[in-house]
Amino acid sequence: MLLSPIWKACRMRKLLFLLCFAGGPALADFPETVRNHILPGYAAFDLAAQELAKSADNDCTAQALRPAFNAAYDAWIGVQHLRFGPVEENGIGLSITFWPDPKGSGAKAQRALLTGDQARLQPETFAQQSIAARGLTGMERLLYPKDTLPADPCALIRATAADLARTAALINSAWTTQYAQIVLTAEQPGNTTFLTQTEVRQVLFTQVISGLEFILDQRLGRPLGTFDKPEPARAEAVASGRALINVRLSLAALRAMVETMTPDVPLTMAAFDRAQMLADGLDDPVLAGVSAPASRLKVDILHQAVSALRDTALAELGPALDVALGFNAADGD
């Protein structure tokens, strides 16, 4: 009885955590998400993108570049779910992985770059090219071409890698020199980006939910199609064989993010466990199995597990952070 107001206060105000749980669970709130998830994630992606650009300068053959390409892609999936802040500027985030691209606008733009005026590959001009043509999705089409490319891709590979390295450095530096501070000083006078700390928690919560929905609707939903009309060709990064690994890495990244947000969401963690176990157990690297009933069932079960995970996070993580999806965003008109 006597303790209950203190327990209540603990639930309400993370600031009291130290007082209530001296020696207890590690502190987890939005500053930890910034310091332990977002900043290291972007730093790792920056590093991997610089490595890829360096490798491309040394040797632009597909065979030589694929390991560095995959390392950069892995690192990007570690932060791709973060769709606020610097990545929002001028479609930067979208330019790194422009997928889905149902009209094939990226491939079209790349063909024009391969055969057109090579001056367009200069860094300043290349940065102005279609966001669909650049980034990791652009690079994948050059390193794992479906058909013979219409011209030697070496110059375009180097330009794409350099542009990706520039972009990765830009995001990393924008976060370290500026945006992290904006997030960490939420609610302080003069901060018009985050009027309250709750707004930060809500943005982070939204990233988790949208990240799960991207796995659900795009990474798994697109190839699943309908039972009568499965769409294996619509899976992500089929050429480089990354469809499933992108699901696994993004689940892991989202889980790691949630761990920095709050120590107290056991049901969400259990739902992550289940989805990750199913994804790890799936022997279907490009999700081609969606076309045959037995193997489709396994992808479907994973899809259902991610759906349950999303629902659990909405029901448990939201209240734990004292936030919900946006009042209007969640509703529509």
């Binding site: 691209d101 009027l195 009042f327 965003a329």
Partner: protein, 351 residues
């Protein structure tokens, strides 16, 4: 305030002439929202202060303001179970409008320029066929209805010549739970109806039948309209269109980055009185895109749950789902006020 309210209520009860907007502090905007667990309608000043707050029986959506008297009609979120005629001076509900059996309100309405008639967007609950309800404004009794000439009408606006423009969103919904029932065959349209309800003009979007035309703002020559894309989320489709009745319709392309920012969804729209620029907001994307008057993209602004937008003296005023009111001059968002009320979809400018 209670005393003043009581006094004004007394005036109203005494059958004295109805009060005008100036008599109650000249609010510039009406906005519905949620305060704690209660749903409310606010009158806001030009700089975003709340001048009055009136309880609503459920979640509101948009409102229509009488052109002269301080009367507002608050519409429920669709499918609409209520439309309340509220005396904003006393805070009292004067009339509780009920659509005819089988019809539902659909979120929006408009007064004629002389204030004599209220028009309400409605659907026949089974099948979502569109109707425009007509109400006289002395006693707010039903005086008739027209076909809206489409499925699922949402926003309606009176053109300066007295014609009515209707955004027939094209979506058939389940009468009880808003489930969308006809996305593969939907066909939205914009219709212009005469003062007698006859169809004068209509456009569709043959190349984009899954782009639901839902919200309207008047321009110098016609209307700007905001759309919500029901097709493949990865298609970069336009969300803004411009139409001068009698002429071909124009849709306004956006870059992939802007389309992604808006998440294929434009929820509110306004046209600046200063320079004719057009703002569309997306609560789903947490963004607002400003276009010039010809429909070219100018700038994108980010803010979670931005939704209500209306013209202001220096551009736009914008509300969000966390209670903030922002001014936008086309180059930046400036915080004007913060409230405990989470602002709902629309911000309605008073004339």
């Amino acid at each position: 305030m209670a005393t003043r309210r009581a006094f004004l209520a007394g005036l109203a009860a005494a059958g004295l002439p109805r009060l005008g907007w100036a008599d109650i502090g000249s609010p510039a905007y009406l906005a519905a929202g949620k305060a704690g667990e209660a749903f409310v309608l606010h009158g806001l000043s030009a700089d975003g202060r709340s001048l009055f707050q009136i309880a609503l029986p459920g979640r509101g959506h948009a409102a229509a303001a009488h052109p002269a008297q301080s009367l507002a009609v608050a519409f429920a979120r669709r499918p609409g179970t209520f439309a309340l005629v509220i005396d904003c001076a006393s805070g009292l509900t004067q009339h509780h409008l009920v659509p005819p059996p089988g019809n539902q309100f659909n979120g929006h309405g408009a007064f004629t320029a002389d204030g004599a008639v209220l028009l309400t967007s409605e659907v026949v609950a089974e099948g979502s066929a569109g109707r425009i309800g007509l109400w006289e404004t002395e006693g707010f009794t039903r005086i008739g209805e027209w076909k809206s000439h489409g499925i699922g009408p949402h926003d309606i606006k009176l053109l300066p010549n007295g014609h009515l423009i209707v955004a027939n969103g094209g979506i058939q919904t389940d009468p009880t739970d808003r489930t969308k029932l006809n996305l593969s065959v939907m066909r939205p349209n914009l219709s212009v109806l005469s003062e007698g309800g006859d169809l004068l003009d209509q456009i569709t979007l043959p190349d984009l039948p899954q782009n639901s035309i839902r919200h309207l703002a008047l321009t110098q020559t016609g209307a700007a309209f905001a759309m919500q894309w029901e097709g493949d989320a990865s298609d970069a489709v336009p969300l803004l269109g411009l139409w001068t009745p009698g002429k071909p319709v124009q849709t306004c392309p956006m870059g992939a980055a802007e389309v992604a920012a808006m998440s294929g969804y434009a929820g509110s729209i306004a046209v600046s009185k200063v320079d004719g620029t057009i703002a569309i907001t997306s609560a789903k994307g947490g963004a607002m895109v400003i276009f010039d008057r010809t429909g070219s993209v100018r700038k994108t602004f980010r803010r979670a749950d931005l939704s209500g937008v209306a013209a202001s003296a220096d551009g736009f005023i914008v509300t969000d789902g966390s209670g903030a009111v922002w001014a936008c001059d086309g180059t930046s968002l400036t915080l004007k006020a913060r409230h405990e009320t989470l602002w709902d979809n629309h911000l309605i400018a008073l004339v």
